[in-house]
């Protein structure tokens, strides 16, 4: 019996079966490209909306003028005694600024006859008197001299130069009139007003509802920084130690299974639940202060730990067992095996998990609301470690806070704060990539 001869086929023509397989492969690639494109598109839209709304928060309109500080008004006793000088409130300083502005307008030949004096002074931020007062109290020797003063302009004026406020909208706006805007145009043309980079947005504290132009992220950035510091110091050693124990030392029994299930569940628990826990445990029970970075950090540590432990265990598990055998067989102890061989190999994965956990903690909002970090905080927390117990804000909470406020200037600031948050996340993730590259080894 001769074997069945299959017809000889040419390699140069593609048969139907191969064609079908190739078509399936092409379709599969197309799905992938579509999915990636959609994701990129969503990202682009998100970034565009955040940046187009927020980038202007980094620029601000300032009023620039010379102010002659009247010693009689600002230091009635004439003793240059700080305690006595502090009795003069911002109202007194406000009068100085108004007078200086009228004087500057006259000097530039700008007539403000058709506008009331009150409307002229409304061009200046309500923050400026406080700013001037701080300058003088810090240096009483300035009294009597003429200083160069650069203060915020009112948020509506700022909005006008950024295109948020127009002549038409001013007609309907009780806070600003077209005449004021025309005056602002003239002031800008003569150099009494300028638009420049706004360091105050990054370094200043939050400001009240009425003065969005002065609102800054300083306290929030510091609060977030403090919290990340504590989370890092607590979560890294605890998380890594727990992972190593569970993965390398713990006996395999029902208890470890139970712990494993619980850790997986904890990672999935909504973060607001941790906020409630933190409120009950750290504030009500332990009596720690509200709004303090230390409480926020403790809650964030609880949230972050399972998120660190799970990838850390996975990367410990992915170290080939043959490496452990090799170390044990030359007489290394369990501890030496882990520290000398397993941990270095697992380090890139552990660090990646840690940093992703930190990045998530940085953006966590809900639990912080519950422990009172949403409070309006104008005072900077002190330097650590005491500062950990001072009230502070946090970046994501500041975003939330500003989106709640009525003035549209705060919407711009909220987007600006998101940009700052994104930059921080970008830095953290870059560090993750650099660390992973440095630790990565092949075996």
């Amino acid at each position: 019996m001769t074997p069945v001869q299959s017809p000889r086929r040419s390699l140069l023509t593609v048969d139907a079966r191969t064609r079908r397989r190739n078509a399936a492969e092409t379709r599969f690639r197309a799905y992938g490209i579509i999915a990636v494109s959609l994701a990129m598109l969503a990202l682009a839209v998100l970034l565009y909306s955040v940046f187009s709304n927020g980038i202007s928060a980094f620029r601000q309109t300032f009023i620039v003028m010379d102010i002659t500080l009247d010693s009689a008004a600002l230091d009635p006793t004439g003793q240059r005694d700080p305690a006595a000088m502090a009795k003069v409130t911002t109202i007194g300083y406000g009068k100085q600024i108004e007078a200086a502005l009228v004087h500057a307008l006259e000097a530039k030949g700008i007539s403000s006859a058709e506008i009331s004096a009150k409307d002229v002074s409304a061009l200046i931020s309500k923050e400026s008197p406080a700013q001037l007062r701080n300058i003088v109290l810090a240096n009483p020797a300035l009294l009597g001299s003429t200083i160069h003063f650069r203060g915020y302009a009112n948020a509506r004026i700022d909005g006008y130069f950024k295109g948020r406020v127009s002549m038409e909208s001013a007609v309907r706006d009780s806070n600003i009139s077209p005449a004021q805007l025309q005056l602002a145009d003239k002031m800008r043309a003569t150099g009494l007003m300028e638009v420049g980079f706004n360091w105050g947005f990054l370094t200043g504290p939050d400001a009240s509802e009425l003065r969005p132009e002065a609102a800054g992220l300083g306290v929030a950035i510091l609060g977030s920084l403090y919290m990340m510091l504590i989370v890092l110091v607590l979560a890294l050693p605890i998380g890594v130690a727990a992972s190593i124990y569970l993965e390398e030392f713990a006996p395999q029994n029902r208890w470890t299974d139970l712990i494993e299930v619980n850790i997986a569940n904890l990672a999935a628990v909504p973060s607001i639940v941790f906020g409630i826990l933190g409120l009950a445990l750290f504030i009500n029970f332990a009596g720690l202060p509200q709004s303090a970075p230390v409480v926020g950090a403790l809650v964030l540590t609880l949230i972050t730990l399972p998120r660190i432990i799970i990838p850390a265990r996975a990367s410990l598990k992915s170290v080939p067992p043959s490496i452990r055998d090799a170390a044990l067989a030359v007489g290394a102890s369990k501890m030496q095996t882990v520290l000398h061989h397993v941990l270095p190999l697992a380090m890139p994965g552990i660090l990646t998990g840690l940093i992703i956990g930190l990045a998530q903690a940085l953006g966590e909002t809900a639990p912080l609301l519950l422990i009172g970090m949403v409070a309006f905080v104008r005072d900077f927390p002190a330097a650590p470690p005491e500062g950990f117990f001072d009230p502070a804000s946090a970046l994501p909470v500041q975003v939330y806070n500003w989106t709640q406020r009525a003035d549209p200037a705060f919407a711009e600031r909220a987007s600006g704060a998101i940009i700052v948050l994104l930059v921080f996340l970008l830095v953290i993730n870059s560090v993750a990539i650099v660390l992973r590259r440095r630790f990565e080894r092949r075996w």
Partner: protein
């Protein structure tokens, strides 16, 4: 050749290094090793042969308690090193493994430099006082493992960058660097070319002067060349154990005979 070996064996037989009595190994419910009695003499090469899956590696791992690391593995019976029960509750397996070294079936160098691979054992056991002494141990170990000439110019290169056969010799160098009393080798030559195999066999023969070597091999010729004693395992049981010459020329058990003549395996 045979008579010479017999004379040597008679000399070496005098002292028992490792004694195993009634060893049973279970992986969960799988009874992998059944009632094994073996005496491994000092300064002797003992070969374990047998078909795949018969329990050679399992028994080898019992001798330095590497089975402790396998979840669900249970060892019963008694194994002694110099007359002391190595499974006694007071025995620290770490101390045991410093005296009973092992080379694995699959090369497993550390993902570190060649130097570090060899130096690691001596370092953790404090065998070298100072860098010069450590260098000396590393060089001596690499020379004995027939690897020195190939790597002496790149000791800082990663051990994992070597070829499979070189990696296996690196693992051998690493094992002998800690100066064990017993060296367990699980198919050390399965990834080596004939030249490197010959060098390793030479090394094994040389090592015999200092300590006892147990080698698992699938090569009958290799067992015959390097060992003085041979144990034949089949389906988890020790079928026959005796002088290598006798096992290969005059096996007592029909299963041994079938295996070495190539009828079962």
């Amino acid at each position: 050749m045979n008579t010479m070996q017999k004379v040597e064996n008679a000399l070496a037989d005098s002292e028992i290094k490792i004694g195993a009595r009634g060893v049973q190994v279970y992986y969960g419910t799988n009874h992998a090793l059944k009632d094994v009695d073996v005496d491994i003499a000092d300064k002797t090469v003992t070969a374990f042969i047998g078909p795949s899956g018969c329990g050679k590696s399992t028994f080898l791992r019992c001798l330095n308690r590497m089975n402790d690391t396998i979840v669900g593995c249970r060892v019963e019976g008694q194994i002694t090193l110099d007359g002391e029960d190595i499974y006694a509750p007071t025995v620290d397996p770490v101390q045991l493994r410093a005296r009973v070294g092992m080379v694995f079936q699959k090369p497993n160098p550390f993902p570190k430099s060649i130097f570090e691979n060899v130096a690691y054992g001596p370092r953790i056991h404090g065998l070298a006082r100072g860098r010069a002494e450590l260098d000396e141990i590393v060089e001596k170990s690499l020379r004995r493992a027939a690897l020195w000439d190939e790597v002496k110019d790149r000791l800082t290169a990663p051990g994992t960058g070597l070829s499979g056969g070189q990696q296996q010799r690196l693992c051998i160098a690493r094992a002998i660097a800690t100066a064990p009393e017993v060296l367990l080798m699980d198919e050390p030559a399965s990834a080596l070319d004939p030249i490197a195999t010959a060098q390793i066999e030479e090394l094994i023969d040389e090592l015999r002067s200092a300590f006892s070597v147990v080698i698992v091999t699938h090569s009958m010729q290799q067992a015959a060349r390097v060992s003085q004693k041979t144990a034949f395992f089949h389906l988890g049981s020790l079928v026959e154990f005796g002088e290598t010459g006798q096992i290969f020329t005059n096996p007592q058990d029909p299963r041994t005979e079938s295996y070495i003549t190539g009828r079962i395996g």
